[in-house]
């Protein structure tokens, strides 16, 4: 289960320490890393909200792309503020999730069939973006039109890294909060039952289709929000970096490395992948392309074979084992969903 109620102080202090970071004299480079960790940590959390129930989507790039492109297109072409654009993008992402999710869940498309359907969805969105090249710039990507001075609340652009850090922190905390709500809801038990045995859970009154749809739409909306945030931060988007199979797989694998059954697991995944890429970039330099990916790929294979609950899942299990000699314990987190 989640943290015992006895120590709410630790998370609070942690958040306060995080919020104070920009004032601690961090350089732009380190702030940039932290902002990236927060944005991707949020997106990975959004994915694992459904991924932990055995719904492995290989197409979250679709929702990421909708978030990034809808908001940017509305801003660039119609001058519509992201404050309106983001809700529109979220609604569109949820409609997309509904369109793909309803038949999937209704017709019991699970496991690698579900993964392949979502993979196709991601490709549909990426290719649509490329094909609409008169508006989106195609594969060349598009730049979010900047405002004079670089900072405007109306345009949701913050030239100051410190300000953006706080925005990203707030969104990331929101993601953790949603995770916690889901973790404590009836929906969780319904979905865990459904991921074990759909027929049995349906026979005891779980509306499997509705439960799965709800969680999928939630995950899609959060991912779209993450995409919009990413666009507002980078001010440049490209179909390959926000959509398509490469980014969709990156989401899945970072979460696997971090661990999807623990609240902070996806964020740990974001930290690991970014630190790995950055360390190698700094030590090996720009010239050697692909080294980080090579090591990353190897690590992933090893993770899935030897540590399918991810680093944080492994740490929690080890911690619980150590305390197991003491008073009776809550059950340890489930390993990967049963076949």
């Amino acid at each position: 289960m989640s943290e015992p109620r006895a120590m709410p102080l630790v998370p609070l202090l942690g958040v306060a320490a995080l919020a104070a970071l920009p004032f601690a004299g961090l350089g732009n480079y380190h702030l940039h890393l932290l902002i990236n960790i927060l944005i991707w940590g949020f997106i990975y959390t959004a994915w694992s909200i459904m991924g932990r129930f055995g719904m492995v989507s290989l197409g979250h790039g679709a929702f990421l792309g909708v978030g990034a492109y809808v908001v940017t297109l509305l801003w660039n072409t119609a001058g519509l503020t992201p404050w309106v654009g983001i809700p529109i993008a979220l609604v569109l992402a949820m409609m997309l999730a509904l369109m793909i999710g309803y038949p999937c869940f209704r017709f019991r498309i699970v496991g690698h069939y579900f993964a392949l359907v979502t993979l196709a969805l991601g490709e549909v969105v990426r290719l649509t973006i490329v094909a609409l090249r008169e508006h989106t710039g195609g594969s060349l990507g598009m730049t979010v039109e900047g405002v004079a001075g670089g900072t405007s609340l109306y345009a949701l652009q913050f030239g100051e890294r410190g300000t953006f850090f706080h925005v990203a922190l707030a969104v990331w905390l929101f993601g953790l909060w949603v995770w916690r709500i889901v973790d404590r809801s009836m929906l969780r038990y319904a979905l865990e039952a459904a991921s074990e045995d759909e027929d049995a859970s349906a026979s005891v009154g779980v509306n499997v289709t509705r439960a799965k749809l709800a969680i999928t739409m939630l995950s899609a909306a959060m991912t779209a929000l993450g995409g919009a945030l990413y666009a507002q931060y980078q001010l440049y988007i490209n179909p390959e970096t926000v959509s398509g199979i490469g980014i969709s797989l990156q989401i899945v694998f970072a979460v696997i490395a971090g661990g999807m059954y623990v609240q902070l697991g996806p964020t740990v995944g974001a930290v690991i992948t970014l630190l790995l890429a950055e360390t190698l970039r700094v030590t090996v330099g720009h010239d050697v392309h692909g080294l980080d990916g090579t090591i990353y790929g190897l690590l992933l294979v090893l993770f899935i074979i030897y540590m399918p609950q991810g680093i944080s899942g492994y740490a929690v299990a080890a911690w619980k084992r150590r305390r197991a000699s003491r008073p009776p314990q809550a059950p340890t987190p489930r390993a990967a969903p049963a076949r």
């Binding site: 290719l127 694998f253 392309h289 990353y296 790929g297 992933l300 899935i304 076949r339």
Partner: protein, 285 residues
């Protein structure tokens, strides 16, 4: 009204279907027999293409020998993939088996970047263009189409006429009983992986004739290959073969009327819809 350009698009679609069918063949075999999705299948094809390019351009090895070497190497890669990566996760949830090969995908893509850089490489061959009454067809595609037909025929003969082929089909139908009948599943899986890898090598040699090779090439062929296998029904060779041509028509004719990306969008959308209508593949009963 008769439109010669539309006819050209349709025939080009048929030829493209040959390439896609060839790509799907090996994956379908592995899919059907071992029940594992090699997400990195298109990356195996990439390995084959790089091998041919490297041997042919750098060492001046004659093309047929380079192709034979590539097929052998990719076949070995298939065996290694099964032995090192798939075997440890065979008993775990199926989705883990899919994801673990995804890790291999990242590895191979990045390793190719590391070894060969991100540049587009080609063999520098100019394949002739065949002209038939004002319609133009690529010779490389015709070759691929023919090879695909031969490949399907040979594979079908192997699966139905040989002892090993029969054992492979048997184990894909019931993997619990066959070991009791004296079939060693480990050996069958290895053989299947080798054949699947070899098929990827054959596909690589034909793709190398008409496309440039670069580290991300797998991403452009991979998704469509999985879709074809699923659409045709997993492990259903004939189904996969037909599905490849259906997909190719969407791409080619869709690209003729709109743009090539819209053709792909239509093909993928068609796949999604078909999954709802016939989740077991086009030819399920």
């Amino acid at each position: 009204m008769f439109d010669i350009f539309l006819l050209e698009a349709v025939i080009n679609g048929v030829l493209l279907g040959g390439v896609l069918a060839l790509l799907a063949l090996g994956l379908n075999l592995v899919f059907g027999v071992i029940d594992v999705v090699w997400i990195c299948y298109a990356e195996l094809v990439m390995v084959g293409m790089y091998t041919i390019w490297w041997l042919f351009v750098h060492y001046g090895v004659p093309l047929p020998i380079a192709i034979a070497a590539a097929i052998a190497l990719v076949s070995l890669c298939g065996v290694a993939l099964h032995q090192l990566v798939i075997r440890p996760v065979l008993g775990t949830p199926p989705i883990n088996q899919l994801l673990v090969t995804g890790g291999v995908l990242f590895f191979m893509q990045a390793a190719a970047t590391l070894a060969f850089g991100v540049e587009f490489r080609n063999l520098g061959l100019r394949m002739p263009i065949v002209e038939v009454s004002e319609m133009f067809f690529s010779f490389a595609r015709i070759l691929a189409f023919g090879t695909a037909l031969v490949g399907v025929l040979v594979l079908w003969l192997f699966l139905t006429r040989t002892y090993l082929g029969t054992a492979i089909r048997a184990i894909s139908q019931d993997r619990e009983i066959m070991p009791l009948m004296g079939v060693n599943p480990r050996k069958i899986y290895l053989t299947t992986s080798a054949i699947g890898g070899g098929m990827a090598g054959v596909a690589a040699s034909l793709l190398a004739l008409q496309y440039d090779v670069h580290p991300a090439i797998g991403l452009s062929f991979g998704p469509i290959t999985f879709m074809i296998c699923v659409l045709g029904g997993l492990g259903n060779m004939a189904g996969g073969f037909v599905a490849a041509f259906v997909f190719a028509q969407f791409i080619s004719v869709g690209g003729f009327y709109f743009q090539i990306e819209w053709g792909y969008v239509l093909a993928f959308a068609f796949f999604i819809v078909m999954m709802f209508v016939k989740p077991q593949g086009l030819f399920s009963r």
